[in-house]
Amino acid sequence: MPRQPAVELAEKVRIQAERSGAQEAESYLESSTTTEVRLRQGQIELLHQAVVQGLGLRVFRDRRMGFLYTTDFRETVLNELVNRTLSLTNQATPRDENKIAEFLAVSQTDLEVNDPAVAQLRPEDLVRFARSAEESAFAQDSRIQTTRDVRCGTTVVEIFFSNTYIPRQTYRATTVWLSATPIATQGGQRREGTFTDRKRFLGDLARPEQIGQRAVERALARLGAGPVPSARVPVIFAADAAGVFLQGLFPAFSALNVIEQRSLFAGKLGQAVASPSVTIVDDGTMRRGLGTRYFDGEGAQTHRTVVVDRGVLRQYLHSAATARRMSVPPTGNGIRSYDSLPMIGPTNFYIDAGSSTQKLIEEVRRGLYVTGLAGFGVDTVSGEYSQEVDGQWIEKGALTKSVEGVTVAGRLDEMLLGIDGVGSDLDFRSNVVSPTIRFKELTVGGGA
């Protein structure tokens, strides 16, 4: 798929950098094809094809680091960029941790991230899936007269990595997604609902009809919603909302933030940071995982890391540099694209499944069941949490009326220690996911 000269050129440029004064250099070439169609009212609104090829080159000289990225593969341009970058690198501060990986043992097991069936899908196939999803949405309920759109797409990406010590390593990964956003209308009120499925393998993708149906359920559930009075009550985050919350919490586990005192978990290794029902895992090796990869963006092997084990903080997540600074093995969390430096990021990051989901609602006398979170609100430095939410009000163990225009707030440390229930509904439709979780008590900020 990549233009062959680019693969050769990426290596040539790296060697050129080494000859021009870089003691170590690393080349990361990303080549991908993305196709997406968007359908609305049965008509194609958008057909998009993106063929991307970009090179990121890190150079190290006397423990100083410089970086360049480009999509321009003309050899003269590349050589000039290398020279400019090397001279800029002289301005950087030497740091002991500026060192590239010296070996890489790539997993010999098939991690199942490449499905040839995904690469073979044509735009007509994507249109067909989107059409079934939209038709099933319209068929559900007469209050669904329109959709914002239905999107179906595929990406095939190939990574080529090499550095001064590690010869070229490569892998190919596929992704397919289908997402529907119907709009429900009733008495002048319009509310949308979105349901997205995303998988590595085509055979794992939910049927289009199911996706349309789930999205409609979400849109309808929001009709007639309004605020509730402010209260301190038990709050349940449904699985998708809990996943969004976990994504917001991720920076607290980044070793760089811990080292620089920008994480509420700094100095908490070995301590209880969540209730014993909570286990949090980052697993870059999970078969068919959306965050699975054979090696990370700087040539470190991926791992399964138990970050929080039954409430106790066991590990932070590392790039090569932070692992060196804290004298621990890297965890394979140096995540990047060709145009960015490796940053500590999640692979497949999740709260492990608990026992029962339905029980979590039934046990609540009066509280809030949150199905949607919006905007920013997780402050992993100060530990404050406050976010716009919508969902359903719980009375005597049952969902009653729809709620929107309210906030939930708390202190993250107290919230995590106060999780008193974890559901069994863990579903990997994203690379950061959670089952339904219940917080013993949060502040709901409502209307007057």
Binding site: G54, D72, R222, A374, A409, G445
Partner: protein, 472 residues
């Protein structure tokens, strides 16, 4: 070398005509080609050390075809005529009608820039950029003994664009942008807080001599320290006063996105069909100005080659104009307002805000606090979001104060504020005469595309907004 010369070498008027001809070979109402070349420098200073230095040099070209509401888009990372022709063929495949035979003839247009940068900041030598960062680091640390870390990020870029359209436009533009952010973290007795200062915009090289980077860094340091001592924010609906400047993120989220032509045309925006009607308090006027001096959202032309303009979107409470790109304007029977923007050549243009602000009112800002027995003052906002179908929006407050009996009293830590656009905009009770437009920090994300924007407002008072703190 002249502006856009490398782009012109591949895409002159004649080759652009051929590409557009190819793009419309299967029919379609409109086609454009957009070529771009950026040179980007990024420097990160962390823990007092220059952590990394980056040069980025992305370039490529994309071709779009649309017929009514149908769009085809494809691009090439390779700035080569044959690859761009391939992109034109892929983009054209969305349309399946009879071929168009009219020849295309683009003509070079020159439009007056909103402001001219004689010696733009990104062209400064690297050593003076590093010097600014080191000075900021020292100033932030000196602000308070409880500052434990400082991270400063500097990014600048020079962006050349070349746009050719089937309605005859051929235009070349060069755009400069600089951004600096400084994030000090403070720690004391198990409590942590972070501050934020941002600098930059489309600015001259002498910007850092006119605006003191040390002052900005010191303010961020003081904010981080102040947040250690701040109490919890209140919860519930109450009178809210929002500080001027970056507070304009409020109007950006609450009304701005709903004014964008794509949602309006699809009927999915809550402002669809409301042109000419009252949508807000008569005190409120909202302006989107793509020509605001040094604004992050400013340019000579938008990314479809339309000259930018100052658009009064809400005039004394009445919705007077949507924010439009070419395609949605055509579908609505209107003209583009110069709001067709895109993140890069890899993306098709969509209607976006430029620099959006609440126009100045007549009230003395201090008087806006009087008469409030218990309320919330949002002194510095963070980011926000909106769902344009319902109009439900939120924005984070980084720092606030209690208002008690008409005066600012205790500082409080952040909280999110939430509301519904139309309800909240009816609740405006007063607008100050102290308009400020921020040119340093706005980045707006929509549909996977991030673009730089400006936001602004004077001091604004609302009779009631729901505050999402933990304290009842």
């Amino acid at each position: 070398m002249g502006i856009g010369q490398e782009l012109r070498d591949v895409l002159n008027e004649e080759t652009v005509n051929r590409i557009l001809q190819e793009a419309l070979a299967r029919g379609g109402d409109f086609a454009d080609v957009f070529a771009e070349q950026r040179f980007r420098t990024a420097i990160v200073l962390d823990a007092g050390k220059i952590d990394s230095v980056t040069y980025g040099y992305p370039r490529g070209a994309g071709v779009r075809v649309f017929r009514r509401n149908q769009t085809g888009y494809a691009f090439s990372d390779e700035l080569v005529f044959s690859s761009i022709m391939d992109a034109a063929r892929v983009a054209s495949s969305v349309v399946e009608t009879q071929g168009r035979k009219n020849p295309i003839d683009v003509t070079r247009r020159n439009h007056a820039p909103p402001f001219t940068l004689v010696n733009p900041e990104p062209l400064m030598i690297e050593a003076s950029k590093l010097d600014v960062l080191q000075r900021m680091d020292a100033a932030a640390r000196a602000a308070d003994p409880r500052i434990v870390s400082v991270r400063i990020e500097y990014v600048d870029e020079v962006r050349d664009v070349l746009i050719g359209t089937s309605d005859g436009v051929y235009v070349i533009d060069r755009q400069y942008l600089t951004s600096v952010s400084c994030v000090p973290a403070a720690q004391s007795g198990g409590k942590r807080g972070s501050g934020l200062a941002t600098l930059g915009g489309r600015v001259e090289a002498d910007y850092f001599t006119r605006v003191s980077p040390e002052d900005a860094a010191r303010r961020a340091g003081l904010q981080a320290a102040r947040l250690l001592d701040a109490g919890p924010a209140p919860a519930g609906a109450m009178p809210v006063v929002v500080a001027p400047g970056w507070g304009g993120v409020l109007i950006h989220e609450s009304l701005g996105h709903g004014l964008e032509g794509d949602g309006v045309r699809r009927g999915s925006s809550l402002l669809s069909g409301l042109a000419g009607t009252r949508v807000a308090s008569p005190l409120l006027s909202v302006v989107d100005d793509g020509r605001w001096p040094n604004g992050r959202g400013s340019s000579t032309v938008d990314d479809e080659g339309t000259p930018t303009q100052r658009t009064v979107a809400v005039d004394a409470g009445v919705l007077s104009s949507y924010l439009l790109d070419k395609q949605n304007a055509a579908l609505l029977g209107l003209r583009s307002t110069g709001n067709g923007r895109r993140m890069s050549y890899r993306n098709w243009p969509i209607p976006r805000m430029t620099n959006t602000y609440i126009d100045k009112g007549t009230s003395d800002p201090v008087s806006l606090l009087s008469g409030i027995t218990k309320g919330f003052y949002a002194s510095e906002l963070g980011g926000g979001s909106v769902e344009t179908t319902s109009g439900n929006f939120n924005f984070a407050v980084r720092e606030g104060y209690w208002i008690e009996n008409g005066k600012l009293t205790r500082p409080v830590r952040g909280a999110v504020l939430v509301g519904n656009s139309l309800e909240t905009m009816q609740r405006i009770e007063g607008i100050g005469n102290d308009l400020r437009v921020d040119t340093t920090r706005g980045t707006c994300g929509k549909d996977g595309q991030s673009v730089p924007v400006g936001v602004g407002q004077p001091t604004v008072r609302f009779s009631s907004i729901t505050v999402g703190g933990p304290s009842i």
